[in-house]
Amino acid sequence: MAHTDAHSSRLGRLLRGIALTAVVVFFLFPIVWIVMMSFQTNEQILRIPPRLVFEPTLINYKALISGKLVTAAGSLDLPFMRNLGNSVLLSAVSVLVSLVLGVPAAYAFARFRFRLGENIAFTLLSFRFAPPLLVLLPLSLYFQDLGLANTYTGLIWVYQLICLPLILWIVRGYFEDASPDVEHAYRVDGHSWWRAFTRIAIPLAGPGIAAAGLLAFIFAWNNFVFALILASADKQPVTVGALAFVTASGIQYGQIAAAIVLSILPTLALALYAQRWLVEGLSLGAVKG
């Protein structure tokens, strides 16, 4: 009997292993393929039929990092690292500004009832409904008058349309889930409202804030159209910069793949770093009674 059990559990483990491998291959295959492409030349990539075994080259990464691609057809300037820097700057500063503005606002909406409170919160959320192209043309007119066109400040301001509503609404939910009794008890001890907010409320909603911040960062990172319309070529993020490899004289598949690998690295690093809080943040809602 015990023998049969051991046998069936071994079989179960094997089947589970096969199923897991199949799922992993299915989901990770495109990413693995991109990573492989990033180590090949265009000629190797376009071979018919494609091959799994190849001689890897670092030419694509070298070209991206040095900013110069030298081919038989001539030398090509690649401002990719600048694009990457722009993406990091725009996304990180936008999320920071949104956190500074959004977390206290979320707390206020969660804890206090005030006139037009719900209307204001909903108006902020409605920024997410508007198609960006609808607001971009009027915005670019105002930006020119205000001197904000083609500035990082202007772009970070517009990025609040992406980050602020997201952070506000997600974090508000976490503040609402945490019982106000703990804060009340702390305040009864003679602490100020501000201390209760920073010492009790924020740590309790910490995982939620981290999750919302990361999500806002990813949304900001993936944005394409705001910088395209409102800024010059030197302030474009990677999403626009990666298109530079699609040229009239051919598509540089190898560089596109290397650019994708480089551009997912910052988000991946951030996600891995914040993973601990993320899991807590995401499971907090799951055990809610």
């Binding site: 395209l228 699609v246 040229t247 004289s249 051919g250």
Partner: protein
């Protein structure tokens, strides 16, 4: 006794004289090279001196310094033509004393950027690259400057406007009235042609030899040749043409062949536009076109754009393409697998016609109506589209389809493109009738996209060709009526 007192020029002026003589045409290229070497000048020094001489020659009869100190900003598409201009920009700066900066965007997003900048009345950009089709929207909206007054009244004497191919000058001018002929009476010059593309055949000689086929002479012949390649070449398919749901599917090979068969996009009836996509000529041509794609086109034809058509030719996945000649040109170099194997041929689709009727795409330069430095911007446009810069681009860079006849006659350019078999010949045969064959009207992009969608349905056998074209004409007439054009 010093050299000067003997009436001789100082030593440093000798090379300068030599390059001035070359620019003035008194000394030939070979002679220039020989004497440059004799003077002990390196290549870099020679190029600098040549630029300086060109600057002096240009400056001789026009006040290029009128806007000295002005700062211009350009909006450019990432393209070999723009690269050629940037490589020569120091010449312009030296000539005029102006400073020039530019924003360069990939083509996928380029026109979104242009449209946003113009519609928001931004004064940031003074001049920009455009295609002629786009000016049908930008011009009548009041976003562009009519360049007629600049060409006629404010150009350098040696600008040589008439040296630009006639069909291209006409194709970039329009009155703004839907249905009016391009370049007709009252036409406004919305942009100045710069570099263009003809639609002809680029083919892989290696595959053609392997299969034992000749260059197709007309469309029925093309169907046979393409089918044989698909059957016998052992992998590659016969013919690459675009197929995505976009205006860009209609304008290259398709419209060139369609016109050769006598097809028109619209007819004018009582001052109103009427769809002509279901005419007998159109049906005859479209049936052959659809069959060609079904039998010998790429498997994912409905997703094919410029990039896929070109990539397949360069990688040896297709035997030939009926598309822009410069696309075939680029695929013959770089790190493409089939580099050195490609050749070019003019193509008249109709067996009853001997002259090709290639529809063209024209990269042009236009001036923003919101620029605050219009006269200075014109100086840039006339320099960039002038003979001297075009010669530089054609000789030294990939400015491979210049719009000026004089550049095509240049021996150095001829020698450079001589290694691309048939490239010069297809230009010579096609240029006389090369122009835009679309009827200008403001719904251009919407209606040609619908045209491409109809082609997709026919190729997918969702609808027979006759019925598909009748439905397309009906749909387009309805849209024209709705817009007050039909």
């Amino acid at each position: 006794m010093t050299r000067e007192t003997k009436g001789e020029r100082p030593v440093h002026e000798k090379p300068r004289d030599l390059f001035d003589a070359f620019v003035a045409g008194r000394v030939g290229r070979r002679e220039l090279l020989r004497r440059t070497a004799a003077l002990g000048l390196g290549a870099t020094a020679a190029t600098t001196l040549l630029n300086a001489a060109q600057t002096r020659a240009l400056a001789a009869d026009y006040n290029w310094k009128a806007h000295q100190g002005t700062a211009l900003k350009l909006l450019l598409n990432k393209h070999p033509y723009a690269d050629a201009m940037i490589a020569d920009i120091e010449t312009f700066k030296n000539l005029t004393g102006m400073s020039v900066t530019w924003d360069i965007f990939p083509e996928d997003v380029y026109f979104d950027k242009v449209t946003a900048a113009l519609s928001s009345r931004s004064s940031e950009y003074d001049a920009f690259m455009t295609g002629a089709y786009q000016t049908w929207q930008y011009g009548p909206a009041g976003w562009l400057v009519d360049l007629n007054e600049y060409i006629k009244g404010k150009s350098a004497p040696n600008y040589d406007w008439d040296g630009v191919l006639e069909g291209l000058r006409a194709s970039t001018a329009w009155s703004g009235k839907p249905g009016d002929a391009l370049g007709g009476p009252g036409a406004k010059q919305w942009c100045v042609p710069w570099g263009f593309e003809l639609n002809n055949i680029s083919y892989n000689q290696r595959i053609f030899e392997k299969v034992g086929v000749h260059v197709p002479k007309n469309l029925p012949d093309m169907l046979e040749v393409a089918a044989k390649i698909t059957k016998d070449a052992g992998g590659p398919y016969g013919i690459g043409v675009r197929g995505s749901r976009s205006w860009a599917t209609i304008h290259p090979g398709f419209l060139s062949g369609y016109t050769n068969y006598g097809g028109r996009d619209f007819e004018m009836q009582g001052g109103k536009l009427k769809a002509a996509m279901n005419s007998p000529q159109s049906k005859e041509f479209t049936k052959l076109w659809v069959k060609m794609i079904q039998d010998s086109g790429p498997k994912n034809w409905a997703t094919y754009t410029w990039y896929q058509v070109g990539t397949d030719l360069g990688a040896g996945a297709s035997g030939m393409i009926y598309d822009a000649d410069i696309l075939g040109y680029f695929m013959n170099g770089g790190d493409n697998k089939e580099r050195g194997h490609l050749a070019y041929a003019a193509f008249a689709a109709n067996p009853k016609e001997s002259t090709p009727t290639a529809n063209v795409w024209i990269w042009s330069l236009a001036m923003s109506n919101f620029s605050t430095k219009k006269d200075a911007a014109w100086d840039f446009i006339q320099w960039a589209t002038g003979t001297d810069h075009d010669l530089f681009g054609a000789r030294k860079m990939d400015f491979v389809k210049p719009v000026r006849t004089k550049v095509w006659e240049d021996p150095e350019f001829k020698q450079k493109i001589g290694s691309y078999p048939g490239y010069l010949q297809q230009y010579t045969e096609t240029a006389p009738k090369a122009k835009i064959y679309f009827t200008p009207q403001p719904l251009f992009f919407n209606l040609t996209t619908d045209w491409a969608a109809a082609l997709q349905r026919m190729v997918a056998k969702e609808v027979p060709v006759d019925e598909g074209l009748d439905k397309l004409a009906e749909n387009i007439n309805r849209q024209l009526k709705g817009a007050g054009l039909g």
